[in-house]
């Protein structure tokens, strides 16, 4: 067993977990934050993306112990009450259907926008499609997800 302590969505949490507990298991099963999903077992699908110390990470690919001391944000923590501008953009652009990949998409998207803005780079359609390499959606054909992220980027800028 390993003791892990971290901040999740602004709240300090601490637990004794088996050494091999993945961060996603800790989030879903111990903290019962079930908006973070598991869609594969090879780190391909991105349904489990969360932010660890401000960076998008696949929470199925790191141990909970590796996040000891980290600031973790999950889909439940990105907006206070209403929707984050990226969440609004997904709704307005019909960027989701079954909703299963959506939390990971949004966590990837907000990270993508922040990185491009920080580097002063333009987030073109090609760039969005390339950046979505690690997130699989089976419902939307990506057309509206790409539109939503572009729209979300401008909403985040003006917000």
């Amino acid at each position: 067993m390993t003791e892990v302590s971290m901040t999740v969505n602004g709240k300090a949490v601490k637990a004794d977990v088996p050494d091999n507990t993945l961060l996603v298991q800790y989030i879903r099963e111990h903290l019962r934050l079930t908006g973070t999903h598991v869609g594969c077992d090879t780190s391909q699908c991105g349904a489990c993306v969360v932010h660890v110390d401000g960076k998008a990470m696949k929470s199925c690919t790191m141990l909970a112990a590796a996040a000891d001391g980290a600031e973790v944000t999950t889909i439940e923590g990105i907006a206070d009450n209403d929707l984050h501008p990226m969440q609004t953009a997904f709704k307005e652009n019909h960027g989701l259907q079954c909703g299963f990949c959506t939390p990971g998409m949004i966590m990837t998207a907000t990270d993508m926008v922040k990185r491009y803005q920080a580097d002063g780079l333009e987030l073109t359609e090609d760039a969005i499609r390339h950046e979505l390499e690690g997130n699989i959606c089976r419902c939307t054909g990506y057309h509206n997800i790409v539109k939503a992220i572009a729209d979300g980027a401008s909403k985040m800028t003006s917000a």
Binding site: Q97, C98, P103, R129, C137
Partner: protein, 786 residues
Amino acid sequence: MTEGIGARVLRKEDKRFLMGKGRYTDDIVEPNQAYAAFVRSPYAHAEVKSIDASAAEGMDGVVAVLNGEQLTGDGIGNIICGWAVTQKDGSGMNMGAWSALATNKVRYVGDAVAVVIADSIEQARNAAEAVEVDYKILPAVAQSVDALASGAPEIHENAPGNVVFDWEIGELAPTDAALEGAAHITEMEITNNRLAPNPMEPRSAIATFNAAEDHYTLYTTSQNPHVARLVLSAFYQVAPEHKLRVIAPDVGGGFGSKIYIYPEEITCLWASMKTNRSVKWTSDRTEAFLTDAHGRDHVSTAKIGFDKDHKIVGLKVNTKANLGAYMSLFSSAVPTYLYATLLSGQYNISNIYCDVQAVYTNTVPVDAYRGAGRPEACYLLERIMETAARELGVSPAELRRKNFVTSFPHETPVIMTYDSGDFATNQEQAMTAADFDGFEARRAEAASRGKLRGIGFSNYIEACGIAPSAAVGSLGAGVGLWESAEVRVNPVGTIEVLTGSHSHGQGHETTFTQVVAERFGLPTENIQIVHGDTDKVQFGMGTYGSRSGAVGMSAIFKALDKVEAKAKKIAAHVLEASEDDIVIEGGEVKVAGTDKTMGWHEVGLAAYTGHNLPEGMEPGLKETSFYDPTNFTFPAGCYICEVEVDPDTGVTDIIQFVASDDFGTIINPMIVEGQVHGGIAQGIGQAMLENVVYDDDAQQLSASYMDYAMPRADDLPNYSVHHASTECPGNPLGMKGCGEAGAIGSPPAVINAITDAIGNNDLSMPATPSKVWAALQAASAKQAAE
């Protein structure tokens, strides 16, 4: 009316998904739940000599290790096929037994022989590894053609030669005669590659037996919870129907693969009773590849004949359909009544004959996957039409147009009666949107950059809204295919609609609401859609075959008719007017031509107080409808794909993809376009990326996202989506259905475009860069030889 029929209303269901508050099966935790891990065969075909669970049983946290002998010993029935197909000779299907846990023999890699129930998932998985199974390995076969060869291993003893059935449709002799007299014949061998459906949410089940009440509850990832309950009780004898509640909460995509009632759900229910614990199982992705029903896998030969004026005179098809190791729920209907009945396409063809050999192999069972039979028919017909146009030296668009069905109703030689459509208008609209006239200039421009441009058509028609219960019953279906709805007006005037349709991405909570809002002029926030729980909804046949609009919404429409009629009677009584003069609009119930009015909520209140109702009227305002469709519906359209191939690498880029669809009435264009996008993406996936691969020992080599090429954002283009609708005469809203069209229509458009670009028609799906490059080399070698 900004929120009624035809409005682009944003989805009501989105907020919970966006906030991470969706409630999927794996998110649910029952008190004191245990976890199931299945012991699965690593061999494609083997005798099970013995199972030794003694080591596993002694491991930490293990509650029980259960096997197939115990399961059958407890009277759990074999898994059924819900559609009985009659063979050419009049005999029934050669169906082999399928037990949820295999007993004497395993027939595909992943076939479960035992299950471990333990306190944690890790303990369950570790113990499953420790179960010793002694297998005697048998020769295995993965491909239908190989399974039919003499000397092939026999998979089920009651299916000689591995033939499940040999079926036919249409007239052989007249078709042969027509082809005999044809001025031109085009012949092709066409393979429709095997696909894994891959909804992003893996299957999951959590079963709870309540010994005090002798009652079971099952949360499961189902597209049709009532059908699951019916089959689990009537055929698998897990529990009587009134003692089993099935809940399909938020479900993360289905695409057909969550229609079926799989061994895992049966086992979890039974194991819950055996262990007196809630039992949870969630598939991992590799397990999904190994156990979720696959789709497609047809090998066909086709022959089409034209007269001297390029009119089609006949079509003859033979198809070998791989059904996998066992017959899944609708597996027999897919390569027969959902496939060969669509071989007439959009064309006037007087003579069609098709025969189908359905074959057992040592692979995952094959069943309906988005489109189910119709993509296979469309691919075959649209590939051979494009090929024929090239052979005849005519425009593919013109050859199609010349053969279009133009008057309705139209009876095909393969039992369908098309009720409506305007194929020429959809084709024209697609050609305009694609700037077809400018294509040759674009091709030349691409050539100047050393790239190869190609363009391809696909004119699809499909059959949705399945289907009149008596008709499908006469063809062998074991169920009726109606749908039910209940509309409950509350005393305050808000409305709940209970529907037997199930939404797993289709946006029913929004579109169904729009139909109700339109009827009474109510705001959408006053309307709630309830689905997916057998304790709440009276009954339902579920969501597949693009039936939730044409059938599910028709049931809502009919229930609304009854509510409206009763509301008018109440209002006429209260307002002292004639019922015929009552109109309901904008949330008001009015006497036409007067200032007499009452609010919709006042009608609701009047119905429930019962203080002042017409003589003899029962209180309350709640009505039910069971709607049985009058015909299939026939969505149709024209898809055009334009590609650019890099001849040095074989890499193909889709430059544009245009769709023009006839879906009949559209409730919410935003949602319909989303359905088309997703369908096209799956179709492009089939055409260029996806393929389930088995080796010669029937081991699945593509059982993870490292090995199976799921379409990703940078593999796909934006889609140019258009509509040209004709109203469907068969249902009250005039709807045809849009869920599967994209997946049906797109693969032939892609392959027709690539083969046009590379000048070699010999190309199979998926058209990967290496295959395209090889086809290009073959084309240049051939050219050099000539």
